[in-house]
Structures are given as structure tokens and as C-alpha cells.
């Protein structure tokens, strides 16, 4: 089931964000609470095209903080999928060296959840 979508104050997008999991929602709430302007999945970076120019691999970071020109990617995946995501991230950094992006793992969310007394993402 898709997580709830509260009304946000620091969200700078036009369409209501549709989060993929509870961890993304909690990160959004935290950013919003502290008044840090954010967007949800505003940009997709093409990583690979086939011979006909069709996109065969792309990466869409979860959050973009426009005031800091910074992307955040939140992952609560199992390790095998995290490895795949790490590979995409390395590729993105190679193809788009000026793009600032940070990857947050499940353990990062657990730390934040423990600090703020949140429920752990399922």
C-alpha cells in the first residue's frame, strides 16, 4: 500500500509526491519540518542509450534540494539491490560529474529513526 501523503510546506513540486515507501515519506517529513525546500524525483538522468538512441538505463534520484543543488537517494533495499544501485550511482557520477548526490542506506534511516523516535520502515 502506498504511504500517506501529507500536505507539505517546503515541497516545491507541482504534483503531490507519491512516495515508494515509508522511508522516503519520513525523509520528506524531516526535510519539511526543518523548512528545507525539496522536490521529489524531479529529474531523470540517462545512463545508457541503445544504437537507436532509446534510453535503456536511467536513474531518478528520490529528492532534490534546490537551494543546495543536491540530490538525495534513499534506499531500504536488500544488499543485492543496493549493489546494483551503487553501480548506477557510480555511473551517474562518471557521466554527470557536476551533479551532487548522496545515497542513504537503510542503516542511515535506522539511525535517523532511532534519533527522532520514528517507526522503522517496513
Amino acid at each position: 500500500m502506498a504511504p500517506e501523503t501529507p500536505t507539505f510546506q517546503a515541497y516545491r513540486g507541482e504534483e503531490p509526491p507519491r512516495f515508494a515507501n515509508e522511508a522516503e515519506l519520513e525523509y520528506a517529513k524531516i526535510l519539511d519540518y526543518y523548512g528545507v525546500p525539496w522536490l521529489y524525483e524531479p529529474h531523470t538522468f540517462v545512463l545508457e542509450r541503445d544504437a537507436d538512441g532509446r534510453v535503456v538505463e536511467a536513474f531518478t534520484p528520490d529528492f532534490y534540494l534546490p537551494e543546495q543543488d543536491l540530490y538525495l537517494e534513499v534506499t531500504v533495499m536488500r544488499q543485492s539491490l543496493v549493489t546494483r544501485k551503487n553501480r548506477k550511482l557510480r555511473r551517474l557520477r562518471r557521466l554527470y560529474p557536476d551533479v551532487k548526490i548522496k545515497l542513504f542506506y537503510e542503516r542511515d534511516f535506522e539511525r535517523i529513526a532511532a534519533r527522532y523516535g520514528l517507526r522503522k520502515a517496513s
Partner: protein, 163 residues
Amino acid sequence: MRELGAEIARDYRDREPVLVGSLKACVPFLADLSRALPIHHAVDFVELAGYGPAATGGHERIRFLVDLELQVAGRDVLLVDEVVDTGLTLHYLCRSLSLRGPESIAAAALFDRPYRRLVDDLPLRYVGFTVPDEFFAGYGFDLDERWRNLPDVHLVRTVDAEV
């Protein structure tokens, strides 16, 4: 602490900064830093409402529970915190206080966890130690408001007890 005090004193020579502590954990650190700072300076405090499970988007937002008594317009503000990790609190404080027209804003922290930053544009100029991603108690760090009074910083280990 002496090294931090000397570094700050060197940078603020011939100026009189306002040390702004972010309550509550900063109290021992700020007290020691203040005593290690051989230049004139003022001390004041703020307290911010922390994020909690009750906060939901659109309903709650960070706010001052305790605001400064001093006017900081035209003054050099040095924010003092016990630890900086996500940077969100410090980011909010810098943004809020910059609206009051200070001459400058910088920050000092006893501990830093730079690998946990969610925001980057922080004027964190003075850091005691970069620390691992662990919980601490003592020297202002609390567990449910206990243990702040311990004179040293202790690493907290969670032990799973069988019922």
C-alpha cells in the same frame, strides 16, 4: 578545548562574538569552551523544538522554544552545539539568525558526523572530533534526559535482553 579556544580567539581577535548555545546538550561544552576562550564574548541560548513522530508534513514545523535575549544585529555569532550530524538544526538556526542582521555566523561543535549530512551549506568552522555513528551519554548527551551530568562522554551499547 584549549586548542578550540585558541583557534576561535585567533579568528575573532579584536572582536567580541556572541556564543549561542543550542539547548540542552551543549551546556557543558559551551561552559568549557567559554572558559577556554581568552577574549571578551557574550553567551546566550536558544532551544528548538525537535522533530518527533507526532510531526507530520503541513502541521508542524521547527520553532524556537527559547529565543535569544541578546540582539545580534551587527555582531559576530558563533553557534555552539554538541554534535552536528544531519545538519538540519544548524541549517535552520543559521537561516533564522541571518535574518537578524549579524555581522557573521559560524558554528562550533564538539562532535561531527559529516557522513550523515542531509544539507551541506553549513558554516561549521570549529570541530572538536569527528566521531563514529554511535550513541553517546554524558557531558550533556542524554538518554531520556538522564546521564547528562556524567563528566565524560560514554559510548552507549544496546544489549538485547532475553525476556
